[in-house]
Symmetry: C2
DNA sequence: GGCGGCTTCTCGCCTGACGAGAAACGGAAA
DNA sequence: TTTCCGTTTCTCGTCAGGCGAGAAGCCGCC
């Protein structure tokens, strides 16, 4: 693990401030065990570049505008293209359930759009950004199933399979078997494995080369899902198909 | 302007990637005129710390998870406390207009909560985060009026007074006169100075020591505002008063 | 298999970051 | 006002460690 010391320290300081929300130079120096003058140098540097601000009244440092800008750039880069957001929104309206779109990013899984409303709220822990509980969500399973075996191994090894509900799958062999079935059927269901009383379904989205690049999903209270499985799968496939066709052609697809 | 060279370069690289959305090492090296091996060192460093990711398939670098985390930390730190968000939401419902809450942050102005809906949408350019057009918005005027004179000078000097509509105030003396009136009356109006056809109003919010710390505002189509000025000012004052009382006592205030 | 690009590694030089210490600053209390 | 205390900035000699030219390694592509 190489590391240019200054950079190492600079980010350590930045992250220390981010973690505290607000920290004085002394606190940072103490927490990181870096001599005070060095901490001041680095803090000043970070302030100069706009990553921190120095609130003199309160004698403390906090995150600066550049941090927000980075977050925005990140979001703008990753957010699903508008044709796909639109498809997700329509799926939401048609199924009357919160809808999601997620993709691969390097070796991560990122939720790049979600559509919900007060009547059909999203599953609270799910939000735009990185998704860490792939073993327990429908779109996570779809995307895990689409990974090369070794990437899946390292993905799960890095994150483990935390228990989220009594139904969460925690046995790797059992998960592998289900992922195989998911890959064959082209649809993943998840019943109360992520949140109690909630059910999710997901299907793959492919790019122009037929490579699986993402997943479309819906979530709803389990009782609302009962008996609607065939209908939900059909609608999911319809909208995922629109997304795949969009990715192939570059033009929004409005109807079947 | 001091500057530790490595840090300077590291952030230059990070920002170059952020600006491009996606960039190869060579592109960065060329754009920043830094020798290629150094760029690789810095990129690798940024990848190691999670600020960038290396997408090998596409032979390029993009922003990494830490950027998103920083954005989230920033947001969580700045977002208005829930009592104030709630007051803003109620204001929105009662006035039937998009509502805003903004505060000082060091020498900046930050919009820390907004409440809107499809029937009463926010003014599109306004979103959570830093606000740059204080001379042209109602809450901007309230907050400018509450600044010490020299801070206001440097604020306006740094940002200028861009023309946004035919009604935008561009004369500094005229603005100062209006800010004086705003400070005396304790309310600011803005008629089509920020966006055509839109009108905004704002009033100050004070902390326990009586210091002005923020502003509450509403925006609406100009025709809807006509004739409702007194009502709007009264309701704004009511909710801003709740916020001020909350800041004084630390307890949410539900009724007058 | 060979080519052409991106990416990583090697190595000696010398810059420029480091940290102890002390001084300057500024707010709070008396 | 003066005093005091904690925070912040500055100074300076030392030497770690970052620098960049160059070359080698790696991969995908033709």
């Amino acid at each position: 693990m190489s590391s240019i010391a200054v950079i190492q320290r600079t980010f350590a300081v930045l992250e220390a401030v981010a973690a505290s929300g607000s920290a004085s130079a002394k606190e940072v120096a103490h927490r990181l065990e870096i001599p005070l003058p060095s901490v001041y140098r680095l803090l000043q540097e970070l302030v100069e570049h706009g990553y921190l601000v120095h609130l003199k009244e309160q004698r403390c440092f906090e995150l600066g505008p550049k941090c927000f800008d980075l977050g925005l750039s990140f979001r703008q880069r990753l957010v699903a293209p508008s044709a796909i957001r639109q498809a997700t929104d329509e799926l939401h309206r048609q199924v009357q359930a919160a809808s999601y779109f997620a993709v691969y990013r390097g070796s991560d899984i990122v939720l790049t759009h979600l559509s919900d409303c007060t009547a059909h709220p999203r599953l609270r822990p799910l939000r735009f950004g990185f998704h860490e509980a792939a073993h327990a969500t429908a779109f996570g399973k779809i995307l895990l199933a689409g990974m090369p075996a070794e990437q899946r191994d390292s993905y799960l090894a890095a994150r483990g399979m935390p228990v989220l509900t009594p139904h969460t799958m925690t046995n790797r062999h059992q998960l592998d078997a289900q992922l195989h079935a998911v890959a064959v059927r082209g649809v993943a269901w998840e019943h109360e494995e992520f949140l109690p009383q909630k059910t999710c379904a997901a299907v793959p989205v492919r790019n122009g080369s037929g490579i699986q690049v993402g997943a479309m999903a819906v979530s709803m209270p389990s009782q609302e899902a009962a008996g609607r499985e065939r209908e939900i799968e059909a609608v999911l496939r319809e909208y995922a198909g629109r997304c795949s066709r969009y990715l192939r052609s570059g033009h929004p697809v409005t109807a079947a």
